[in-house]
């Protein structure tokens, strides 16, 4: 088990992690490194457990075997206080934004500040408005989450994730269900915040086109392991079947079109007998 120091190039390291849930082996010897200051994309077919990987990084789940390191320290097992300390340095953007529905936009973004700091009201106001401005929603500060569109809600959630100036920000399917304009906005925001604030970003997504524009490094996960990694250009030129199928969106290939089962005539026979 190698431990990278604080000045290591990788902010997060997943080392040989095994994890299964209800008899399904999700990860079988998964290893990947998230370099500091860069945008790393984690892609893969549906159901490969990309969201589970996020949970392992944030300490919501404990790996059966193997180790997850954040900033040189093991994430879990740990005390609740240590875990919360780690989490304060990670901002998470959920698929649906996960804003608190009984608070307005301003209060939602201010929430972490109010819960964790004793900053005076003036200062909170300044910080919140600044973050809202960076996502373009400063004027929407009084709206309730139910009044926001999907894209706007996600932007508010981004402002909230950034309000404590985390070292790492994780995006869980940030482009899912957005129109092209909103998608473009999110892409721009991810890139800008990463570069302007010098933070590290992990984007979990299916979206090949967006990722190619956005990511510095891509990991492709299938069957519980990393099957390919590299820059977008490298993956485009990769000829292995699974990478090919994924990057080009082919219907059939290593990930089969037909759900595995008996042959057609065999099934007909079995059904007419029953």
């Amino acid at each position: 088990m190698k431990l990278a120091g604080n000045s290591g190039t990788n902010l997060v390291e997943v080392q040989d992690v095994r994890y299964s849930r209800s008899d399904r082996m999700l990860f079988n010897g998964l290893s990947l490194d998230i370099p500091r200051g860069k945008v790393t994309a984690v892609m893969g077919p549906s159901g490969t457990g990309k969201t589970t990987l996020l949970h392992l990084i944030t300490g919501q789940l404990l790996p059966d075997e193997g180790v997850v390191l954040f900033d040189g320290r093991v994430v879990c097992p740990c005390s609740r206080r240590r875990l919360y300390e780690t989490r304060r340095q990670i901002g998470v953007l959920f698929q649906n934004g996960a804003l608190l529905t009984n608070l307005n936009v301003f209060e939602n973004v201010a929430f972490p500040l109010r819960e964790h700091t004793r900053l005076p009201e003036q200062l909170i106001r300044q910080i919140v408005l600044m973050k809202l401005h960076s996502v373009g929603l400063r004027a929407a500060w009084l709206k309730m989450p139910s009044q926001l569109s999907g894209g706007m809600a996600r932007r508010v959630a981004l402002a909230r994730a950034l309000v404590m100036d985390p070292k790492l920000i994780v995006y869980d399917e940030p482009f899912a269900g957005l129109d092209p304009i909103s998608t473009g906005v999110i892409v721009r925001l991810i890139r800008q915040t990463n570069d302007a604030l010098g933070i590290t970003s992990i984007v979990v997504t299916h979206d090949v086109a967006e990722t190619e524009m956005l990511a510095d490094l891509i990991y492709l996960i299938s069957g519980g392991k990393v099957v390919a990694s590299g820059t977008p250009g490298e993956l485009q030129n990769d000829n292995s079947p699974i990478v090919n199928q994924f990057m080009r969106g082919l219907a059939d290939g290593p990930v089969p079109f037909h759900y595995p089962g008996p042959g057609y005539s065999a099934q007909l026979r079995a059904m007419s007998r029953a």
């Binding site: 919501q60 919360y84 300390e85 989490r87 304060r88 959920f94 996960a98 608190l100 972490p112 819960e115």
Partner: protein
Amino acid sequence: MITALRDCWFSFSQFAATFGGFQMFSFRLLPYLPRAVLRPRLITEQIYSVGALSLVLIMFGGLFVGMVLALQSYNTLVEFGQTDSLGAFASEALVRELGPVVATLLFAGRAGSAVASEVGLMRATDQIAAMELMAVDPIQRVVVPRFIAGVISVPLLAAIFSTMGVLGAYLVGVHLLGVDAGAFWSQIQDRVDVYEDIGSGIFKSFVFGVSASLMGVFEGYYAPPTAAGVSRAATRTVVITSVWILLLDFVLTSFTLPGT
């Protein structure tokens, strides 16, 4: 036949597991209580949502139950010429039993299910997970204020219910059925005892309040994060709370009635 038995066993063991989980949850809440006092605003908001908004239901319920009680007991009392005791009879029944029990049942239906679905929805929409990831303990912030608010509200609601019931009994008894007003109130004074009747009523409503609040937040917190899961949690809250309150009422009544 075997499957029927197996289903019975399954649902019983499920019940036992839930009950066990419920006990664990209750103990888990205990250490959070002292710190919750530092955030009175959260508790106040919940008292508003759970208590103040239930007022109309409780007041109407109390009024009508009191009125029906007067009508019903008049029927029996008039045979013995004891109609003067109407006030005492109705008041005792209200303060000791109907106030705590019915008020809590109404509370479970309106506020208990609301809390369960609120908390369940927060879980289903990842708000609880988001809080955990923002290093905010959702139990401290979401569950405990609702629990405390319920414990404070239920005894108050029970008292309001009983009072409205007495007033309802007065309206029907004196103004409708012709019971003497003076007799009505003086019989109450003579026969209803502050310590035994009102005291046991308050004690009961406090115990009921703890139970009802606990069950509401428990069902919501552990609801499966789906739409079906949340609505089932709301329904289960009402069912479980009602059954438990009625059971508890029997136990407490048999201990607090004089002469038993």
